[in-house]
């Protein structure tokens, strides 16, 4: 109510001011009446009329024109102090004065409202410009909605603005957020795109009622918002499509790798088993234990391949969640080396993991996998009898581990790419494996919040990784050990 009241006061005060101004001018002219000619008075009266219309608009202008007509007649046309007119020239002057006064008021008034309309249009254009600038390039529906709501609030000066977005990612957003409002909104604008209605803007503003131009502006805002939301949705759909395409590509790569990699051990097993079965090999032949060992080894190899594929698909689909526990890194390395005993006997292995290392919050089985893959990668590429070195040290808030070998260096441009799925520097048929080992390592380390990279060292290649020591903000526990012996 206050707003309507204040405009009412200012509107009527404009009329009062106009009349007061005319009264003042009349008083001045009246004091000079003897020196002034009637026509001159009429001309002088036109000045305040023009000013009044220009400043306060058409209404006060016309009103003052009529008031002036009366005062002019009353004070300046003989006989004075009556509205009677005796001289015919005076009648002509009066009529001309009235016509000129009204025409001037009309002209000045029209000019003035034209100017006001132009200003309003300019303001609308600026607001629209600001909105579309703010929305440009946004990809996130919620941010778009917030900006839209804020701009609607700024422009409309409403009590509350609420934005409801329906559909798959539905949400409601309200400005000011804390405000609770029970009555229905005064104005609702749908946010509409080609596919249908995305949501709506609700505006609570009891007074002053929305003008048609405000409604038009809000509708335009809603349309802009709809376009931005639609654009964000399309961008999301596109990136989803890209992910699908990527996973499709991965799947066909896996299929081709699988058929190649799985067939090799299978062929060995089939050949060895069938020759043992078909009595081609004598019971006491030296080939017999060799064939049996081949079947056993290749079955293990097959098992490892299947395990790698499973791990990779788990990493890819994001279900690889480490089951963290406080662990001792050297214990993990120890069980890896125990299991890889026969694989690693061609190489010298050196472990440097001091007992002072703190406990680390990792998944035991997954970290075993990391060390297994890094060591078997080293075993595969580094020459026999060369040294494979494993060490770890504390580096700030994390533990830094290094597995290095004296194998061939990797060209600088491939140091990152060796962690890509199926990436190989040498041709696929020269080495065995799925080409997944290193990318599984990276997947596991990253799931633990760490980082894995490779670097060339003077005599070979080193894999480095870091693992955070903090687990949900808690540092590694230090246990009270009992020292008394029995």
């Amino acid at each position: 109510m206050t707003m309507r009241g204040s405009t009412f006061i200012s509107r009527s005060s404009q009329y009062l001011l106009a009349i007061g101004f005319i009264a003042l001018v009349t008083a001045i002219l009246f004091s000079l009446r003897e020196a002034l000619d009637t026509t001159l008075v009429a001309l002088l009266y036109l000045i305040p009329l023009g000013l009044i219309t220009a400043y306060w608009g058409l209404g006060p202008g016309i009103t003052s024109a009529l008031v002036t007509f009366l005062t002019f007649n009353y004070f300046f046309i003989e006989p004075y102090y009556t509205f009677a007119v005796h001289r015919s020239t005076d009648i002509v002057i009066l009529i001309i004065f009235l016509i000129v006064a009204i025409v001037i008021s009309q002209l000045v008034g029209r000019m003035r409202s034209g100017l006001a309309a132009a200003t309003a249009h300019e303001r609308e254009a600026t607001q629209l410009y600001e909105l579309s600038t703010a929305l440009a390039g946004l990809q996130d529906g919620l941010t778009i909605a917030k900006i839209l709501a804020k701009q609607v609030q700024d422009v409309s000066q409403g009590e509350t603005v609420e934005l409801n977005i329906t559909g798959t990612q539905s949400f409601a957003f309200r400005l000011p957020e804390s405000k609770q409002i029970t009555r229905p909104p005064e104005w609702v604008v749908p946010i509409q795109v080609v596919r249908g209605i995305l949501g709506e803007i609700r505006l609570w503003r009891a007074a002053p009622a929305l003008t048609s131009s405000e409604k038009r502006l809000l509708q335009t805002f809603a349309n802009q918002g709809a376009l931005a939301l639609e654009r964000a949705r399309l961008a999301q759909a596109e990136s989803r499509a890209r992910v699908l395409e990527e996973s499709d590509r991965l799947k066909s790569a896996i299929l081709s790798s699988v058929s190649h990699e799985l067939r090799t051990p299978l062929s060995t097993i089939k050949a060895a088993a069938s020759s043992l079965r078909g009595n081609d090999v004598n019971w006491d032949s030296a080939a017999r234990p060799e064939l049996i060992a081949a079947i056993d080894d290749e079955a293990d190899h097959l098992n490892m391949l299947v395990g790698n594929l499973l791990d990779m698909s788990r990493i890819e689909s994001g279900v690889l969640k480490p089951k963290r526990e406080w662990n001792i890194l050297s214990e993990i390395v120890g069980s890896v080396l125990a299991r890889m005993k026969h694989l690693a006997e061609e190489h010298r292995i050196e472990v440097d993991m001091p007992e002072s290392l703190p406990l680390i919050p990792v998944d035991y089985v997954q970290m075993e996998q990391v060390f297994t893959n890094l060591v078997s990668n080293s075993v595969k590429y580094a020459p026999e009898k060369s040294m494979i070195r494993m060490r770890a040290f504390v580096d700030g808030d994390s533990i830094h581990a290094v597995v290095s070998n004296q194998g061939p260096q990797v060209p600088q441009e491939h140091l990152e790419r060796i962690f890509d799925k199926f990436f190989r520097i040498t041709a696929a048929d020269q080495v065995t494996g799925t080409g997944l080992g290193l990318s599984i390592c990276r997947g596991i380390i990253e799931a633990h919040g760490g980082r894995l990279w490779a670097e060339n060292i003077p005599d070979g290649l080193a894999f480095n990784f870091t693992l955070p020591l903090l687990w949900e903000g808690v540092s590694p526990p230090k246990l009270p050990m009992d020292t008394e012996t029995e």
């Binding site: 089951k323 406080w326 001792i328 069980s335 472990v351 998944d363 009992d482 008394e484 012996t485």
Partner: protein, 231 residues
């Protein structure tokens, strides 16, 4: 042949059934097979086998559930078969009373070793538990609380001894983290695997020739520990 130990195999994969039956029969065991959980439970009740080999992935019932139902009435050793990456199920079954596990695919030596351990422990349950355990040069006397390496006595703290005695008394068997923590520490400490990690390191330092490559106290990744003693 009547005294041959009786083994019940519950597994829905016929190839595995066939392989296990062939090998175990060859080794002198009497073997019965079942493809479903319900059938397995019935056969177990009828035949009272000496060992049950149970696959965790059965078509009709959860393997852990079969384990729980068997444990309601029998102490017969249960060896579970599971696939890689199902540590959670393995641990659940072990905590529900299974005695040991094998991960598919497994070698036949592993299977026979588990069967031997299971048979020995079922004999021990009948009150013939040995009081002195040998593992390489190690000698652990559970009655006199003495641990020796060769002729030299090894000094252990109270907790270290309690831990080693528990492992040694169950030698050959896998013991889950929770099992060890509950029995050596306190049921309230069942989640503090870090105690185990640290005390195991201490024990290995005192007992093993090379603590980084243990021979006696083996880690079962994601599951627990196993103490290997001489047969």
């Amino acid at each position: 042949m009547n005294n041959a130990p009786h083994i019940l195999v519950i597994d829905d994969e016929l190839q595995i059934q066939r392989a296990i039956r062939t090998i175990l029969t060859e080794k002198g065991f009497k073997v019965t097979t079942a493809s479903r959980g319900e059938e397995g439970l019935t056969l177990a009740a009828m035949n009272e086998p000496d060992i049950i080999i149970l696959d965790l992935g059965l078509p009709d019932m959860d393997g852990v559930e079969v384990c729980t139902r068997l444990r309601e009435w029998t102490l017969c050793p249960i060896i579970i078969l599971s696939v890689r990456d199902s540590e959670r199920d393995k641990v659940a079954a072990l905590d529900k009373g299974a005695d040991d596990y094998l991960t598919k695919p497994f070698g036949i030596e592993e299977l026979l070793a588990r069967v031997r351990v299971a048979l020995r422990h079922s004999t021990n349950r009948q009150g013939m538990q040995s009081k002195v355990i040998h593992a390489g040069l190690l000698m652990i006397d559970l009655a006199w609380h003495i641990v020796k390496c060769g002729d030299e006595e090894i000094k252990l703290t109270a907790t270290e001894y309690k831990l080693l005695a528990y492992l040694a008394a169950n030698h050959g068997r896998v013991l889950t983290h929770q099992n060890i923590l509950t029995n050596v520490w306190d049921p309230a400490d069942a989640n503090h695997t870090e105690y185990l990690r640290v005390y195991m390191r201490q024990l290995r330092k005192k007992l093993e020739v090379n603590p980084e490559r243990p021979q006696f106290i083996l880690t079962e990744p994601g599951v627990g520990y196993r103490f290997i003693a001489d047969e």
